[in-house]
């Protein structure tokens, strides 16, 4: 996901630096408050660890291999603000020494991998695992699902950054000057790769390491940094709200999302043959908000409202899942405590 120089226009690069700056500022202040004089050695060692983690070749079932980013893992162990700084430092060293990711695109890479990834991952982790014991399976599930969502969200943002390039800057004869593919290609291309390969790798590594830490180094899993208090969730909610506010970017995309064509649109796309099954099931599930828009409402407002509603539904489902898991876990613990006292 490291975007090299040359893929994004200088204007986009500048904008992404500007967007990342306040996050860095906040992160430096918050981390300093918590870690005080330990900030430099703790962050340096964990950043070095994150660098090494990104070098590991992870074998996936089926024979492919890949690398993890580890942003969610770092956020879960150190807190999201420390993760922002740690991963940023790693990205800087990778860009300087190994040419992995550009120097002009550094702001964009930081936003995708060091800000969106750990914040989304940590948010999902928190929602699923809130108030559970450090060795609870809910924490493990939270870390796994969180890391998956984190990297997919990061790839979505990267896809959007790449996809808006041809519209933003092209030569007089229409030649795109930077990344040549529009949103309808760039977003699905990024998403598919991350939904199917990079996401599972991230979840696998995060889950494996987290489970082992739970068994052997539970102090690390509790985010037991001296003086560290439970993070305030409202900051994360704010970040999610901001991301949702950015949904109008989706309106820049022309046409239907890649691969989400209905039977009619397939015909428009020149498909002469519509799979019978598709025609049969087409009317079977009437979407409550067809085309992500409320009926009889401005397209833009409808689109944004749909985004918020979608986020609310997903958050609610995750919350229910969390509650259910915590009940199950506490029941199990009570049972085992009962056995303990009886025996």
């Amino acid at each position: 996901m490291h975007i090299p120089d040359g893929y994004l226009s200088p204007v986009t690069c500048g904008t992404m630096y500007a967007i990342s700056l306040p996050f860095w500022y906040l992160a430096v202040n918050r981390v300093r408050k918590v870690l005080t004089h330990r900030t430099v050695p703790v962050l340096a060692l964990f950043a070095a660890f994150a660098f090494v983690l990104m070098m590991f070749n992870v074998p996936l079932p089926g024979g492919t291999t890949g690398h993890a980013v580890g942003g969610t893992l770092l956020a879960v162990v150190l807190g999201p603000w420390a993760a922002i700084l740690g991963i940023s430092v790693v990205l800087g060293i990778q860009a300087l020494f190994f040419g992995d990711g550009g120097l002009m695109t550094f702001g964009a890479n930081v936003f995708n991998m060091a800000i969106v990834l750990p914040l989304v991952g940590y948010f999902v982790y928190k929602v699923i695992s809130s108030n559970s014991e450090s060795n609870s399976p809910r924490r493990l599930i939270g870390a796994v699902i969180g890391s998956y969502f984190g990297i997919v969200a990061a790839s979505l943002v990267a896809g959007i950054e790449l996809g808006i390039q041809p519209g933003l800057s092209h030569a007089l004869d229409g030649t795109p000057l930077y990344a040549p593919y529009g949103l309808n290609v760039a977003v699905p291309a990024m998403l598919i790769g991350h939904l199917l390969v990079a996401g599972p790798i991230e979840a696998l590594v995060t889950g494996g390491v987290f489970a082992y830490l739970q068994r052997t180094h539970s102090s690390l899993v509790k985010a037991d940094v001296p003086g560290k208090k439970e993070g305030k969730l409202w900051v994360l909610w704010g970040a999610v709200g901001l991301a949702a506010l950015a949904t109008p970017i989706g309106l820049l995309a022309s046409g239907t999302a890649w691969g989400e064509w209905g039977a009619e649109q397939l015909k428009q796309r020149g498909f002469s043959f519509i799979p019978q099954g598709l025609e049969k099931i087409a009317g079977w599930w009437p979407a409550p908000l067809p085309g992500y828009g409320f009926p009889r409402m401005g397209a833009v407002i409808g689109y944004i409202l749909s985004a918020f509603l979608g986020i609310a539904v997903v958050a609610f489902l995750l919350w229910i899942l969390g509650r259910w898991l915590s009940r199950k876990n506490s029941a199990k613990q009570q049972a085992s405590n009962g056995r303990g006292s009886a025996g």
Binding site: P4, D5, G6, Y7, S9, C13, T36, H37, R38, V40, P41, V42, L43, A44, L45, F46, A47, A48, F49, F51, V52, L53, M55, F56, N57, V58, P59, L60, P61, G63, T65, L73, L85, V89, G92, I93, L96, F97, F98, G99, G102, L103, M104, A171, D173, G174, T175, P176, L177, Y178, P180, Y181, L204, V205, G208, V209, Y212, L213, T216, H217
Partner: protein, 271 residues
């Protein structure tokens, strides 16, 4: 991936990174023209060139910049083959991304087969832009890092008013990356020397998770020890560095040439 190749591949990736770190340090201490320049001037001028690469709107300008890069690599006494190998490493990845653009970018047909446009002029141009921009920008980054000791880059970053906290973390991270790479490399070598035949993918994944978790716990432990060591040496939240850098006459000459060349290249955009 069987056990043997899984271990070998990881060992390869760790040693590759270690080698590159050591080699970079070695080359940056050679006696070439670029090495003798003040790092602050180099950071500024190379950043300027990277911005010019980003702003260029003609393939000719990008080609001219690549010619400048080659001249600079001579001035840095870098072996051309070595330098090109390091820079062109990034071409295949971008080429794979650029190839479809040759065919799907709408525009004037360049190659036609059976009356249908197969490759368009705009497609060729956009692919050229992408590849040349990547090569040019990576080249300047590489030239900077191959001709400047890391400590001097850190001193210049401080001079450019980057927060000292960030510069300190950057410096220390780099130092411990080498150490941790050494550690995991030894872990994998030890494992490999005890392995006959292979393991299943699932077993490899479990082992990988264990070694990563152990490394993470070790890093945390080490950070505590490093902090205590720093405290015992009088650390009070700030690292003081000596600034051995001095502007020389040749630095101003170099800066002037670089700014003029950059201005000429940018002027080429509007010609």
């Amino acid at each position: 991936m069987k056990g043997e190749s899984f271990l070998t591949r990881n060992i390869g990736s760790f040693t590759g990174a270690l080698e590159s770190v050591i080699l970079t340090d070695d080359l940056s201490r050679r006696q070439g023209l670029l090495q003798s320049l003040d790092p602050r001037v180099k950071v500024f001028t190379f950043a300027l060139f990277i911005v010019v690469v980003g702003l260029a709107r003609s393939l000719w300008i990008l080609c001219a910049i690549f010619a400048i890069v080659i001249i600079l690599s001579f001035l840095a006494k870098l072996s051309l083959v070595f330098f090109l190998k390091r820079v062109l490493l990034f071409v295949p990845f971008t080429a794979i991304i650029a190839i479809p653009a040759l065919f799907i970018t709408p525009g004037q047909p360049l190659v036609e087969i059976a009356g249908k446009a197969i490759m368009t002029q705009q497609g060729v141009h956009t692919a050229g832009f992408l590849i040349l921009r990547v090569v040019d920008s990576v080249s300047f980054g590489m030239l900077l890092i191959l001709t400047t000791p890391w400590t001097n880059i850190l001193v210049s970053l401080r001079w450019f008013r980057l927060p000292p906290l960030i510069v300190d973390i950057l410096g220390m991270t780099y130092r411990y990356i080498s150490l941790l790479l050494h550690n995991v490399n030894s872990m994998f070598l030890a494992r490999r020397s005890r392995t006959i035949g292979g393991f299943s993918g699932a077993e490899n994944r479990r082992w990988l998770a264990r070694s990563l978790a152990t490394t993470m716990a070790k890093s945390q432990h080490l950070s505590e020890e490093v902090y205590l060591a720093m405290l015992s040496r009088g650390y009070q939240g700030e690292i003081y560095v000596l600034n051995p850098l001095k502007f020389k006459f040749r630095d101003s000459v170099w800066a002037a040439i670089a700014v003029i060349v950059a201005a000429i290249l940018l002027w080429g955009n509007y010609r």
